[in-house]
Symmetry: C2
Subunit: 290 residues, 2 copies
DNA sequence: GGAAAGTGTAGTAATTTTATAAAAATTCTG
DNA sequence: CAGAATTTTTATAAAATTACTACACTTTCC
């Protein structure tokens, strides 16, 4: 039921944007007309779109065909699906003039878009392997520096509930020491958006050399990704680039959620009361619901 | 341009399912034919769907109209949109039997759903006020305990870039001391999923009594929400309940993103080079892209 | 200057919609 | 409770809209 709908991954809007440069004059006019207001485009007839783009109807038709649709109606259906996925804001960067409501929406939508993209890119096989390693671990350590430190800390909070010794480190010296002292049965999860922080790559290598399992949450084909036992790769295109990473850490946290859920599920029903106990013990610290 | 697209609400498939009982014989046949395979239905012509449902073409047309579409093609567009967004949520609860790919998808989709819901619920006015306070702050402190500690830490990482003294605390004693020592010009951002942690509410009250501005990122109508200068309220329905908070912290992080972006924008273009400098200085720690 | 690619016109084919009539279901009356 | 009358529902067929194809003209690039 899940993967069944992954093959609809061809996000037409994104594809149009990709190929925008390689289109000839008229087809480009069509592309621009669609991108100007993709949602409205789904309601247009071929004649209306032709007028909006200031081209002839057959040109629109040819345009649709070139995006591997059987014709205009088919193309509209695909367009409609792309829009629904939450990509209306692709490319629409946040601007100085935006109202709060506007840029807030843009941020949320771009986060949604990244999540959806990441979902398609995640390898279930790698996830399954990672979960298996985590279940068998005698000890788990999460390493994250800078912007990934909060992610590591969050992971610690989650995995702490599993009754396994778990720690997170954001200090490379501590990480180095832990890696040096690791061995078989230790799992080290290294979190790095770029996957190119030299320090982190070295630490990962060291841990592996000592026999520890290294799980990387990082960018595809990065130096870090290559030295890991299991690499969970996500590419976050930070399109709301305001000089700080935003969606990447959300994606990383979601992967942590998936790993934690995987461990919970594999632990089986017997383990649920334990989790409930941890949750319930917080009740004493809370104000009653009036 | 922002609210204009609330298209996540009108999920045609859900509406059809709702109204299934109240339809007459033929229209019901159409409904069932569509529900049998909604995805295929988007490719059918009106004639093909009529045949599949064993009714006449005008019946199909009337059916579409009764679901407030202007006609069959329009209806197909809506259906296409529903499939992309709506279907995944159906039967969203994670079960023991799920494959990794399945529950991973479910987690991502439920996160997306929460984000979209939060987007609709967020008050732009409250956000704008919060941003104004943050810009004028002489000092900012983020408080978060337990699962919210990573969120507070993340906020610290983000706001550190703004050249204001900023710290995060996850220890209630430290928080209490900071609150006690706060005053006018100090902004304290209190992050709490439930908004009912007694300790946090007390601390927030104390800070306010001292003249500090308290921004709360918390649940609507919670005790904490009531004592804040500005309350940013999000209700995260943790539908993937596995006894640990998941989407709530993602929502909180997204709010942090929005606040940080708001501050960046208001600071204006002059400030951008400073952000770029901070980003660039990390380059030295990275391995080159081969 | 000629081949190749690109674009538009006009006519054709497909699809959808409307008008209308027949059938079924429901209600009302005797 | 039968049976006529009305309303609702459904289908046939014609009209209108929409999308597609063939071909001719224009531009661009060797």
């Amino acid at each position: 039921m899940a993967a069944q709908q992954a093959h609809y991954d061809d996000n037409v809007i994104a594809v149009i944007q990709d190929r925008l440069e390689n289109l000839n004059k008229s087809e480009r006019k069509v592309a621009e007309a669609i991108l100007r207001n993709p949602k409205a485009a789904t309601r247009y007839s071929i004649a209306a779109l032709a007028r909006a783009a200031d081209v002839s109807e057959p040109t629109v038709n040819r345009f649709c065909r070139s995006f591997s649709a059987t014709g205009f109606p088919d193309f509209k259906i695909r367009l409609a699906q792309s829009i629904a996925t939450g990509t209306p804001y692709v490319g629409k960067n946040i601007s100085q003039e935006d109202s709060v409501a506007e840029f807030a929406d843009k941020i949320v939508f771009s986060t949604i878009a990244s999540l959806d993209k990441a979902r398609q890119g995640l390898s279930p096989k790698a996830l399954a392997e990672a979960i298996d390693h985590l279940i068998q671990a005698r000890q788990i350590n999460f390493f994250g520096m800078g912007g990934s430190a909060p992610v590591a800390l969050d992971a610690q909070h989650k995995f702490f509930r599993f009754n396994i010794p778990v720690m997170s480190y954001d200090d490379s010296l501590m990480q180095r020491m832990v890696a040096a002292g690791s061995g078989t049965g230790h799992v080290i999860v290294v979190i790095s958006y770029t996957g190119r922080t030299r320090e982190m790559v070295e630490i990962a290598e060291m841990a592996r050399a000592n026999g520890a399992t290294v799980i990387g949450i990082t960018a595809p084909d990065s130096p870090l990704s290559k030295v890991c036992s299991v690499a969970l790769e996500v590419s976050a295109t930070e399109d709301t680039e305001v000089y700080m990473p935003m969606s990447s850490r959300i994606l990383h946290l979601t992967i942590i959620d998936i790993l934690a859920t995987g461990v919970t599920l594999k632990r089986g029903v017997d383990f649920q009361p334990h989790l409930k106990k941890i949750k319930d013990c917080l009740k004493a610290t809370r104000l009653p619901v009036e």
